[in-house]
């Protein structure tokens, strides 16, 4: 025998969403105001020196002359200078009165349309290799002075600081700036263990290359 369907169907009332909607709509402009879609980072720069880039030997350590390394960005490439060493001899290149030049290099660049064009840019990889060589020779030196031609755009100085900040891991391929880009984005840097205070846990940090940068203020 078939059972009769009950006429009393339980009616479920919908939740009144209007007050919640009002609240959420009020929250959106507030949150939107505080939202920053661009992530801002910081690049620290040491207090600049006034005058031409030169460093006097320290009184307490007369035996070891500081390197006093300067990287100058010009329209035709980098120029490496040091007050404490003959860089031409160090790198085994031809001596130049101004220092060691790293000329611009031309490489293939594929633009937005996918067309390959020639792009002349700074040779950041060669700069990195030379600075790594100097770091191995002068382990105690920390300061790198950066200078540029007056009309050079500031973004090139930031790029140079990015390249010279940390030592890349040994397995990083260095054929083009794209390789450095990939390594930097994946934080493929050499690591060093630092012991914590009073027997605390040791922390691992990236091995610096020339991370203390100052700008030379030339009058």
């Amino acid at each position: 025998m078939a059972r009769k369907k009950s006429k009393f169907v339980e009616e479920v009332e919908d939740i009144n969403l209007i007050p919640i909607m009002n609240l959420v709509l009020c929250l959106i402009p507030l949150v939107l105001f505080k939202t920053q879609l661009v992530k801002i980072g910081m690049v620290n720069v040491s207090a600049p020196k006034v005058g031409p880039a030169s460093s006097k030997p320290q009184e307490e350590d007369k035996d070891k002359k500081p390197l006093g390394l300067t990287v100058a960005l010009g329209k035709d490439g980098f120029l490496l200078k040091a007050t404490g060493a003959d860089l031409a001899t160090v790198f085994g290149v031809q001596a130049d009165a101004n220092g060691v030049k790293i000329p611009m290099k031309t490489e293939d660049y594929s633009n937005k349309n996918g067309d390959v064009e020639k792009l002349t840019t700074y040779d950041y990889i060669e700069l990195y290799k030379k600075l790594l060589q100097l770091r191995e020779m002068y382990e105690d030196d920390k300061l790198l002075t950066l200078t540029a031609e007056p009309e050079l755009e500031f973004k090139y100085l930031i790029r140079t600081m990015d390249v010279v900040r940390y030592q890349f891991a040994d397995d990083v391929k260095m054929a083009s700036i794209a390789d450095l880009s990939e390594a930097a984005n994946n934080s493929k840097y050499k690591k060093v263990e630092e012991e914590g205070d009073e027997g605390g846990k040791s922390t691992s940090t990236y091995k610096p290359l020339w991370d203390q940068v100052t700008f030379a203020i030339v009058q």
Binding site: L17, M21, Q36, P150, F154, I158
Partner: protein, 189 residues
């Protein structure tokens, strides 16, 4: 005759209303004809979650625009503390968002073009330092001589040089440059 017509019209209207009501019940639509808020609620909740994910607690807020395109960098450092900010846009220099000097073609209008100091900026920074020192003294804290420079990527080095020198003259000794984080080392910049 008229009353019969009236009756038939009323009957027809009643029938129509009943049909409509049946259709509504079939479609499960609310009888009052109100808007369903559930879907709108879903969309708004998703927007709210997205905005909360990008909610910035950074002490410094920079909105890049045409005249202030910050350089890209792979730096891992964040803005940790609120400091005095010096913005060098393509059209002017601002200290703590207050315009101080105008810039034309990467050059500041100063009486002495060869001087490294920008007089208007120096005066303004001196004033800022004085106020900050007074405030720090009242709060029994030390004055923080840190300045954050938010510079347009295409600013010439000469101008950056002058700005740093002037800030140094106004007793700032620690400099930080604001950059856009996570920028790839693109071939063309």
């Amino acid at each position: 005759m008229d009353s019969r017509k009236q009756q038939s019209i009323e009957a027809w209207l009643k029938q129509q209303a009943e049909d409509k009501s049946k259709k509504r019940r079939k479609k499960d639509l609310p009888d009052d004809g109100g808007v369903t808020l559930s879907s709108l609620m879903d969309a708004v909740t998703i927007i709210l979650i997205f905005l909360l994910m990008n909610f910035s607690t950074d002490p410094m807020k920079v909105t890049p625009h045409e005249k202030l395109q910050l350089p890209l960098s792979t730096t891992m450092l964040n803005a940790k503390e609120k400091t005095t900010t010096l913005t060098v846009a393509a059209d002017g220099i601002l200290v703590d968002d207050k315009p101080v000097v105008t810039i034309k073609n990467n050059q500041v209008d100063t009486s002495d073009a060869t001087s490294l100091t920008i007089p208007q900026l120096k005066d303004h920074l001196d004033q800022v330092v004085k106020e900050r020192k007074e405030l720090a003294a009242r709060l029994k804290q030390n004055f923080k001589d840190i300045i954050t420079i938010i510079a347009h990527g295409e600013t010439h080095y000469r101008l950056i040089n002058k700005v740093i020198y002037t800030a140094g003259q106004a007793s700032f000794t620690k400099f930080k440059f604001a950059v856009v984080k996570g920028g790839q080392l693109k071939q063309k910049i």
